[in-house]
Each structure stands twice: as C-alpha cells, then as structure tokens.
C-alpha cells in the first residue's frame, strides 16, 4: 500500500463527572495495521474514553491528532467524518429484516426513482460488503432473526463500514467487548474478520475483559486504572500476570486458589432441604453446613435460579420442606426470608436488584429498614447512612459517597452494592446467583474475598455460577442440577473443570 500508515494520537484526555475524575490525562496512539487492546476494571475509564472518541461527550481536555494534524471531535457526526467507526457489544439488529437491510440500517437504502427500494442493487452491494470482509457464509437474503450471535456481530461490523464499501479507505474501528456474547467458534470467525481489517490498514481499538483474546489478536495493549493509563506497550513485552496486576494494582497472587475451606459443621445443618418441588424444580434434597460454601452447577435452564428463588420464597413450594437451623420455614415470602436472615444477590443486578435512580444508601439498606427505624414506622436516616458507610467500606465500594445514585456506578461496584445489602444484618444463609457475571477482574477478587470471609464468619452460602473454575475454587462441595433435579453433590477437592462439565451434561 502506498498511503502513509494511519495514525490516531490521543493526548492528555481528561474528563470528570461532577468533580469525580473518570479519565485523567490519558494518552494512547492507534496505528494502521494494529489491533490495540484496551483493558481495565469496570470504572477504570474505558467507556469514558470511547465516548470522547465518539464525540458523545465533551472532554475537559484532549488533544487528538489524525495522521499528524490536529482534529476536533466535536460531535458524533464529526467522528464519523473523520473515519471513526464504533461497534458496541450489544447486538442491535432488526430481526424482522433481512441481512442486507440490516447492513444498510444506518444508511439510505438504494432506490429507484427516489421512492422504491432497489432490491437488486441492495443485494449486490450487501454481498460485496460481506465479501470485502471475507464473510461468505451469510447470505444477504437471510432473516436477521436466524443469525447466531456471532454472525449478527459480523453483520454489525459490516454495517458500520457499509458507507465506505467502495472507497476501501482504512478506518479506525473501535470495538467494545465484541465477544461478550459469542462462543469460541464465533470468536474465531470474528478474529478472521479483524485480521482482514488489520491487513487492509485499519487501526483497531479493542476493549475486552478477556485477556487471552488480546494475546491472540492484539499488537499493543493499554491498561487503564482509575482513569489513568498505567501502561501502554507491545503485547509481546507483557504477560497475563503483569496485566492483571497493572489493572488491579494488586499482585495476581492473591488469586483464586487460595480458598480457606471451612469444615462443614457437624450437628444441625444450617440449611436442610428435603424433597423440594416447585414449577421449575422437580426435586431437590441437600444439606448445607454453617460456614460451608455449596456450589450449584448445571446448564442454563436446569433450575438453579429457581431453586434459589424457592429458598427466598419467590417461587411457591409445591412439596417438600426447608429447615433453617432446624426450624421449618412455612409460608415463606421474600420479606419473611430477609427477616429470618436469608440474603439474596439476584442474577440480573439491574432488573432484579438495584434501584438505579436511588442513592447508594437506599440501595444498601432497603431490606433492613424495619431494623433501621424508630417504632418500626419512621426511617432512621442517620442509622441507615452509618450502616451504608460501614458496609460500603467492607465491600470496598468505589463511589462518590453514599448519596451517589446507583446508576452512576460501574458494573462491579453495582454488584458490590448488592453484596453490601446482603451482608448488612449478618445473614445466616446467603443465596448468590452468578455473583461475578459481567464484573471486572478486580471486583471479582474483592467478591471472592468477601464470600470466603462470610463463610468464615459462619454463614451458609449457596453459590450458583456458570464459571466452573469459580465453583471449584470457592466451593467445598458442588451440587449438580440437571433438568430440575438436584442430582448429586460432589466434593470439589481434586475436581477438574472437564469432569464437572461432563457431569453437567450427563444423562440422568
């Protein structure tokens, strides 16, 4: 190629929200023909940086140079003109339309006489756009609804480039966790397309939580922590352990295998479940000792979440019994469960856990207001604030204070809010549903540490997780669920992920 290599330099990018710095003098350079990885914990400033580049937010300070000349990314239209293209992690496609129409979704469709859609031109251009990315297995005529997540992501990428299909000019692509919803075969296809973009001279900024991906496709990697660039270097000069400690500011050593296993208590079990049956759970019998962490493994749809929800009284019991410290729980409801000392961290933190418009203190203390009240009627705000501060510190919550709104926190910190809520009143039983889903590495370690502390303090913990390594590292025993049945409990000692996976798929 004869053109000079593309280069986008960003220097001293800074942005604060209400006095809280989100990005502090961050600098990085994207070069044509390179995949530049961007990593950092949730809340480290990755999203803010992307928003500045997209012209969605005005920086407090930022110098940007494109191929050496200063540019001003005033708004999103300017970003587009300058050749910046954004791929968001969420798959926004119109399922009722064809692939070809989805490709043109942000552009005018080719027309005849200014009114009628020119279908043949549309098909031809769509096919050409897909071919240009080396995508041959997706027909432009297919309904988008029939696409897999991976193919939908490829269509999304082709769609971002469709306006430039003819020019072939290299672009600056910014991809925010494009593999979040993809399986490994789909990731391979995506990486093939990324390699092709790189070969034609595109500069790519690739945001991800998955470090192994960076070592497959990236040439350079930049680590953000608390809004500052911690390191920016060729990937060949670094390692996973280095990157993790750069992201978290801690050694990677206090990692996952250092579990302190409390011996399952003798005598009366903390929780005893016999023949439990609900709409979604066919049969579950198990015991959980005080101080024990019992994992629940199983495929999606095997009834794991519903089992937890039955123990909180969300799902009504059709048969069976639940005993907490020997006391039978009858007519259970979530309100009663919290009063009895059963705490719950739900799977979907935004839709099932948080009040995004409310403040940190309200989010933490909500289930405990009877305790934090005068005469059980008037809310004691002083006590609620004190408890929120105490628990915020206990879970290492990063916020601008207890009056900040939950919406403004990063994903990992939102999850910590739910933990703070769960442990406020020293619960006897803690139900955790996918507690580390979608949180960054640093918050994950904080959450592991908390779970172990809670168990050491004597709580019984039920942990549903799809991350098998997490189950094996944290749990004393693992209960397998298959098709609504709690089939067997395995000791996690010496168990490998493959063995566990095989048991999940085993026929009953």
């Amino acid at each position: 190629m004869s053109r000079p290599a593309l280069s986008l330099q960003v220097r001293h990018a800074s942005k604060s929200y209400g006095g809280a710095p989100a990005l502090v003098a961050a600098s990085l350079e994207l070069r044509g023909g390179e995949v530049h990885g961007l990593i950092g914990e949730n809340g480290a400033g990755k999203t803010t940086l992307i928003k500045l580049l997209a012209g969605l937010e005005a920086p407090d300070r930022m110098q940007a140079r494109l191929n050496g000349s200063a540019i001003d990314i005033g708004d999103s239209a300017a970003a587009y003109r300058l050749g910046l293209r954004f791929i968001h992690q969420e798959l926004n496609i119109a399922p009722a339309l064809s692939v070809a129409e989805n490709l043109f979704i942000n552009n005018p469709l080719p027309r005849r006489g200014g009114i009628f859609v020119d279908w043949s031109t549309l098909q031809r251009r769509a096919e050409a756009a897909l071919k240009a990315l080396g995508i041959r297995h997706i027909s432009p005529r297919r309904r988008a609804a029939s696409l897999s997540a991976g193919d939908a992501m490829l269509v999304k990428i082709a769609s971002a480039l469709i306006g430039d299909a003819d020019s072939g000019e290299p672009r600056i692509m910014i991809m925010d966790e494009p593999t979040a919803a993809l399986n490994s075969a789909e990731v391979d296809l995506l990486f093939a397309v990324i390699a092709r973009l790189r070969a034609r001279g595109d500069a790519l900024l690739y945001v991800t939580h998955r470090l192994d991906e960076l070592f497959r496709i990236a040439q350079r990697v930049t680590v953000l922590r608390d809004g500052s660039v911690i390191s920016s270097q060729p990937i060949a000069e670094t390692s996973t352990a280095q990157l993790i400690s750069a992201m978290t500011g801690r050694g990677a050593a206090d990692g996952e295998k250092a579990a302190v296993r409390a011996a399952a208590a003798e005598g009366v079990p903390r929780l005893l479940v016999r023949g439990l049956q609900t709409d979604a759970v066919a049969h579950a019998s198990f015991r959980l000792g005080a101080g024990e962490i019992l994992g629940i493994a199983g495929l999606v749809g095997s009834g794991r979440t519903e089992l937890l929800q039955a123990l909180l009284g969300i799902e009504p019991l059709l048969a069976g019994s639940i005993k907490l410290d020997g006391q039978a729980l009858l007519a259970l409801s979530p309100a009663r469960a919290w009063q009895l000392g059963i705490a719950y961290v739900p799977e979907e933190r935004r839709s099932q856990g948080l009040f995004l418009g409310e403040r940190v203190s309200q989010n933490i203390t909500l289930p405990h207001w009877e305790r934090l009240s005068r005469l059980k009627i008037f809310l004691n705000r002083g006590a609620a604030h004190a408890e929120s501060r105490r628990l915020g510190a206990a879970v290492r919550l990063k916020s601008a204070g207890i009056k900040q709104r939950a919406r403004q926190l990063s994903g990992g910190n939102q999850q910590k809010l739910l933990f703070a809520r769960a442990i406020l009143a020293q619960p006897r039983l803690i139900l955790l549903d996918e507690p580390t889903r979608g949180v960054d590495v640093g918050a994950k370690y904080d959450i592991y540490r908390l779970i172990r502390q809670l168990a050491a303090a004597g709580a019984g913990i039920l942990l549903v997780s799809s991350e098998l390594d997490e189950l094996i590292a944290l749990c004393d025993r693992i209960l397998l669920m298959r098709q609504g049945r709690a089939a067997e409990a395995l000791s996690s000692a010496g168990l490998t992920e493959n063995q566990l996976l095989e048991r999940c798929y085993a026929q009953p």
Binding site: H88, I105, Q339, Q352, F355, I377
Partner: protein, 351 residues
C-alpha cells in the same frame, strides 16, 4: 433527534440549560405570578386574594396530595373524582335520614376507605392494571352516586348548619385585621403535612418509591409489594372522601357528579410536581407547587375576565410545556438507554 442530546451534562455542575429544565416549572410559576401582578396590580398580589386562592385550591390539593402516593408506585387512581362525588351523596343521604354530622362524616370516610380497598385489591391482588381497574370503579362509583341520589342534588334544610358553615368558616389571623385562614385551607395543609411525612420519613413511604423504581427488585429485596400498593389506594380513597366532604360542605350541596373535575386536575398537578424532582419522581412538595400553578392560573385568568374555555386551553398548554421540558432532561440523564440509541443510529454516511 434533537440537538440537546449531543452532549452529556456533567454530574453536579449545572449549566444554564440544565438549570432551566430542572427548575423551569418553578421559574414558570414565578413568571405567571409576576404576569398577573402586573396585569392586576390592585387585586392580585394581595393577602385576601392569596387566601382566596388557597381556599379555592384546598379541595383539589387534598386529592392531589393523596394521589401523589399512588403515583409514586407508578399507578394511577382515576376513580378519585367519582369517589368524592359518591361520598358527598352518601353523607347527604345520611343527613336526609336525620343523621348527625359525625355519622355522615364517619360513613363518608368509610365509603372512601372501602372504595380504596376495592381499587387496591383489584390492582395489587387480582392483578388488573391500575388504569383499567380504576376506570372500571370510576364508572361504577358514578353509577352508584346517581342511583342513590336518583340523579338529583341534595341540599336545603336537611343539611345541618354546622356542617355547611365549616366549609365557609375561617380562623381569624391576629386581632381584628380582617384576615382569616379558611378552615378548608387548614385542613388541606394538615393533609399535606401528613403526606409529606409519610412519603419522606416513613419506611412504608420510602418503600413505595422503591416499588416505583423497580418493582421486581423491591419484591426480591423483601418489600411487601401487594400490601403497600393496597395501602396507597386506601389513602387515595380516604383523600377522595375528605375532598368529597369538603366540597359538599363548601357548596352546601351534594350533586352526584360534582367531584368529576378533580381527577384530571389532580393528576396534572402531580405531573407538574414531578418536573421539579431530580429523578422525575412524584413528590408531594412538587405537587403543592403544581396545585398552586393551577390555582393561580384559574384565579388570575378569571380576574382578567378570560373565558373559562380559554382558561382550560392555557392550562393544558402549560402542563404539556412543563412535562416536555422535564422529559427532555430526563432523557439526557438516562444515558445508558441513550448510548444504545446512538449505536443503533450512526450518522448517515456520504452516500
């Protein structure tokens, strides 16, 4: 897409535009007051006129304050106007049968509570949407009031003098100054105070806000949702009953449809008040401002001898204006939603 979405406002530092959207309703209220003051300098900005406004708005105020409680959870109570009329008719019928004031008031309040329980059961336990359920009870309450009264007004000698004098009575302010605080105003202020404390300082009140914010999360977090929603409708029914009795007392007449206008105005007042909250939540302080805006408009426009139909039009325009301004700022805040919107709709290319 409007140009306002192009930049995200930064946290706590408020730009002039954000300030206007946040406090626009308040500023608008002051401008309206200023306007009438200049137009009617002799009569508008006088203590007697303002006391008059508070009396005129006291009945609407009561239903607007208690409706705020229902609207906090995201529900509506459309039946309040019809219930207020029904309560008036019930109290009037008690008087016709020779009952005392205490009996009439007690039975009236009881009917209000029963109406609220009915609404609350339908919404919280049967699971009908509040809109449909209270639309149904609205029609039924109205029918019941017409049936009991035979479609006729109740007035005249059957109504005890002490009952109708309450609605016209006032407590003198100071000695011989000629100014007096109307009983109805005092009653409305008391109910305002009750609702204010309930919504802001009680466990139940704060939990209603949690239900309005995220019902599923509230349930999983141990909030007894059905019970609290029922409670909110009962308070709303009670408010409607108090308003119905106030109206009956002030007019010395109970007509089977005399409370009908209250419902839409009360909801409008709550909406106006929502524009004054950072998170666009119903709040009773804002509702008070909303009621005052409606009251000042009616009072001022009447003093300027503007046709009542034109008054209605201008009131409607002001409500839409206020809510439009605040919903624009609301969109800007919810930037998660807004970011997704951006990624769906990239700017058109050069094609």
């Amino acid at each position: 897409m409007n140009g306002l979405d192009a930049k995200q406002p930064a946290g706590d530092t408020i730009s002039p535009g954000v300030f206007l959207r946040r406090y626009g309703t308040l500023i608008g209220f002051l401008l309206i007051v200023l306007f009438f003051w200049t137009q009617r300098p002799q009569t508008f900005m006088t203590a007697p006129n303002w006391i008059n406004i508070t009396r005129q708005m006291s009945i609407l105020g009561v239903v607007a304050f208690t409706s705020t409680i229902v609207m906090v959870t995201g529900d509506f109570d459309l039946s309040i106007g019809a219930l207020a009329s029904l309560v008036g008719i019930v109290a009037g019928t008690v008087f016709q049968g020779g009952g005392t004031v205490a009996e009439a008031v007690a039975l009236g309040l009881l009917v209000g509570v029963a109406g609220g329980v009915l609404n609350g059961m339908l919404v919280a336990y049967v699971g009908i949407s509040a809109f449909v359920a209270t639309l149904g009870t609205l029609t039924a309450f109205r029918g019941l009031a017409l049936y009991i009264s035979g479609g006729a007004s109740i007035y005249g000698r059957a109504i005890p003098a002490e009952f109708s004098s309450f609605g016209r009575g006032a407590i003198p302010l100071g000695a011989g100054g000629g100014l007096a605080l109307p009983n109805l105003t005092i009653l409305a202020l008391l109910i305002f105070f009750f609702v204010f404390v309930f919504l802001n300082y009680t466990v139940a009140g704060r939990r209603l806000y949690a239900i309005g914010g995220n019902m599923e999360a509230a349930r999983f977090g141990g909030v007894r949702i059905s019970r609290l929603r029922l409670l909110s409708f009962v308070i709303s029914g009670l408010g409607a009953a108090v308003a119905g009795l106030m109206l009956f007392s002030r007019l010395s007449t109970a007509h089977p449809t005399q409370g009908e206008g209250l419902m839409l105005q009360a909801i409008a007042a709550v909406f106006l008040g929502m524009t004054l909250s950072e998170e666009s939540q119903p709040n009773v302080g804002g509702t008070l401002i909303g009621v005052l805006i409606l009251g000042v408009l009616a009072n001022g426009l009447t003093q300027m001898q503007i046709d009542t139909y034109i008054q209605q039009i201008s009131t409607g325009v002001i409500i839409i204006l206020a809510v439009t301004l605040s919903s624009v700022s609301q969109q800007r805040r919810a930037y998660g939603r807004w970011l997704r919107r951006f990624f769906r709709r990239q700017p058109p290319g050069r094609g």
